[in-house]
């Protein structure tokens, strides 16, 4: 059961990260100097420089000091979601930058606004290019879900702990099984992403595999 | 009787199902220069790589002086130290200066002490005209200069024979001359050389024999004068006439 929660968490984090990450990336590449240096970069740097665990505690305890009562799940979601957004924004940024500048020029030349060009021309290509690096992010986030154990969320690791405690079970066996479960989920997820990459491939377009994990 | 440095007997080499070398035999004596020419893809470069076992042949035997080097239990590293190889793409060690590139074989393969290795290396670099570039890295040198360093690297090992695999094919036209000049001098000084090239001018001026290879076999072998004027095979004649056509146009 803990596994389901884990997967749920991972998808939620990635989802939030995606939704926030794309605007961040677009802001970084196309935004003016203010947007880029005062808003995007500080956010990205902040979430990338501090450890995930610290971030989790920060959000969880920060909420209570602001007199908001956040469930551990929500606190974790916000913390890890925004963190993923920071990392994903870098992935998308790299992908957007690798697209030939002629694409934007062509889009504008037929009368598209910058916004439309980004939406219909740049992003579709950037997203395809991002898939390999994004699958790295997927496996990272999945593994990082284990950290929300610290906030008491009943995901896989905590379930494992309970099992060991309740049944005086063989601790090493339980945890090794946990490890195997993670391994399997990561593996299948990556295979699925590979499959998607193949399916949505643009014929004739050479996509270089870039591994960036900031 | 001058000593035979290299003897190749009935060499065969296949890549997958395609046979690239179909039974090649020849010899080279001390101080001779033999030039191998022929249409592209006929196994010339592969032949050179088979000689120093960078690409082991499937069948056939090779002798270096009196030692059969195609035997399986021979110390191939020692043999390679006595055969120089100059690559089409130079292959200089990118992280080493010119001096270090030349020195490293002496120090790490032959076990020479640093002073002696340095002395010899500087001499060889001067010999190829790069005495002032010994501390430069390959990326700081032109293609022609890089190739000359790689010749110095081969020379420093005091090899019994040097193999040149299309040494000027990757160079810009203006840089070919400086490399050919070094090679012509080497030939005149009595270095035993086997050169695969398209540079006919070079072949004509210093080769003792020209070997014409086509479709994996040696079609003809003979001194430049003879083979140009009286080729025995039609294909040889066709090849040379195309080349002289090209050179004639270049001259114009």
């Amino acid at each position: 059961m803990g596994t389901l929660v884990t997967i749920e968490l991972a998808l939620a984090f990635l989802g939030l990260g995606f939704v926030v990450g794309i605007p961040l990336a677009v802001g970084e590449v196309y935004g003016n100097k203010f947007v880029k240096n005062l808003a995007v970069l500080p956010i990205v740097e902040f979430f990338r420089s501090i450890p995930a665990l610290v971030l989790l505690f920060l959000f969880y305890f920060g909420a209570s000091s602001l007199n908001l009562s956040l469930s551990p799940f929500i606190a974790a979601l916000l913390a890890m979601g925004f963190r993923s957004a920071a990392y994903q924004s870098q992935i998308f940024r790299g992908a957007i930058k690798s697209i030939d500048v002629g694409q934007m020029q062509a889009a504008r030349s037929i009368g598209m606004s910058k916004f439309k060009a980004i939406r219909y021309i740049i992003l579709p290509q950037a997203l395809r290019i991002s898939i390999p690096s994004w699958s790295n992010e997927y496996s990272s986030v999945l593994k990082d879900t284990s950290l929300v154990y610290a906030l008491g969320v009943t995901e896989l690791m905590r379930q494992g702990r309970y099992i060991v405690a309740r049944t005086f079970g063989n601790a090493i066996l339980v945890y090794v099984v946990c490890a195997l479960i993670y391994f399997v989920i990561v593996h299948f997820g990556v295979k699925l992403l590979d499959f998607l990459e193949e399916k949505y491939k643009i014929p004739g377009y050479e996509i270089k595999k870039v591994t960036t994990r900031a | 009787m001058t000593q035979t440095i290299l003897k190749v007997e009935n060499l065969h080499k296949s890549y997958g199902k395609t046979e690239v070398i179909k039974g090649v035999s020849f010899e080279i004596k001390k101080s001779e220069t033999k030039v191998i020419v022929g249409p592209s893809g006929t196994g010339k470069s592969t032949l050179l790589r088979c000689i120093n076992q960078l690409d082991p042949p499937d069948k056939g035997r090779v002798w270096l002086e009196d030692v059969e080097i195609s035997k399986s239990h021979i110390d191939i590293n020692q043999i390679r130290a006595s055969i120089g190889f100059v690559f089409q793409s130079f292959n200089l060690f990118t992280h080493l200066t010119a001096l270090d590139n030349v020195r490293i074989g002496l120090m790490r393969v032959k076990g020479m002490k640093e002073e002696e290795a340095t002395k010899i290396s500087i001499e060889e670099l001067k010999r190829v005209g790069l005495g002032d570039k010994i501390h430069n890295y390959p990326a700081q040198l032109s293609g022609g200069q890089q190739q000359r360093v790689s010749i110095a690297r081969a020379l420093a090992m005091s090899p019994k024979l040097i193999l040149f695999d299309e040494p000027t094919s990757a160079l810009d036209p203006e840089l070919i001359g400086e490399v050919l000049e070094v090679m012509i001098n080497l030939a005149k000084e009595g270095t035993t050389m086997i050169v695969v090239t398209h540079e006919m001018g070079f072949a004509r001026s210093v080769a003792n024999d020209i070997i014409f290879m086509d479709d994996g076999i040696i079609l003809e072998e003979g001194p430049p004068g003879e083979i140009f004027k009286n080729p025995k095979h039609k294909r040889t004649a066709k090849f040379f006439s195309k080349i002289t056509q090209l050179e004639g146009e270049k001259a114009k």
Partner: protein
């Protein structure tokens, strides 16, 4: 006490904790380095058996969460009679994990060295081992610096996880302080700030080191 006075008062204890974190990181990355190089060589040059063994190791450590690995070492092993004190378990866990990641970085760098280099080394009579030692590895080290710097920073951040197996590093000290005066959020703000500063400084240092060792053309 307002925030800044509070922050100032807890700084000394926190910095002590961060020293432990740094120590752990430094030791772990060294273990990772010593193990990682043979692992990567095994994956690139090894025969089928060596390749399989090294790949299994690398996939196992990279495919599972660090937390799980630490739990297995600290909570799991005792059930078969092997008990490690927290710091040791942390060190082994971080070290072995880092070795797997570093091995992949090294492998990438080795494969980035052009093919012609190995062929040229063999052509002057170097054995495979000599060629790897004098020609491939020196180039690999220079090529791997950006990824390796990355790994160092990642490891520093990951070291916070060992809080969960009761090692007294920065986060653990922080929670201890917080349990006494309940100003948890502020404590963690300071901790976040400390990490931020350390990471920035580390990045700057690594950048300038990278620039200094640069070889033209590599």
């Amino acid at each position: 006490m307002n925030f800044f006075e509070f922050a100032w008062s807890i700084l000394p204890k926190l910095l002590q904790g961060s020293l432990i974190s740094l120590e752990l990181t430094a030791l772990a990355i060294s273990i990772g380095l010593i193990l990682g190089i043979p692992l990567s060589l095994g994956r690139v040059y090894g025969n089928k058996i060596i390749y399989t063994v090294t790949t299994i190791y690398i996939e196992a450590f990279r495919g599972t969460p660090m937390l799980t690995q630490l739990f297995i070492l600290y909570f799991g092993l005792p059930s078969i009679g092997i008990m490690f004190p927290p710091f040791t378990a942390a060190l082994i866990g971080l070290g072995l994990n880092s070795a797997a990641y570093q091995a992949e970085y090294f492998r990438g760098a080795i494969q980035a060295v052009k093919d012609g280099q190995m062929v040229a080394a063999r052509s002057i009579g170097m054995s495979k081992i000599k060629a790897i030692r004098y020609i491939i590895l020196p180039q690999m080290f220079r090529l791997v610096i950006p990824s390796w710097s990355n790994e160092l920073v990642l490891l520093l951040k990951a070291s916070s996880i060992v809080y969960m197996i009761q090692v007294s590093e920065l986060v653990s000290v922080g929670r201890q302080i917080a349990s006494r005066n309940f100003r948890t959020f502020e404590v963690f703000l300071v901790i976040a700030f400390i990490y931020f500063v350390i990471v920035e400084v580390l990045n700057r240092i690594l950048h300038s080191v990278e620039r200094k060792i640069k070889i033209p053309g590599l």
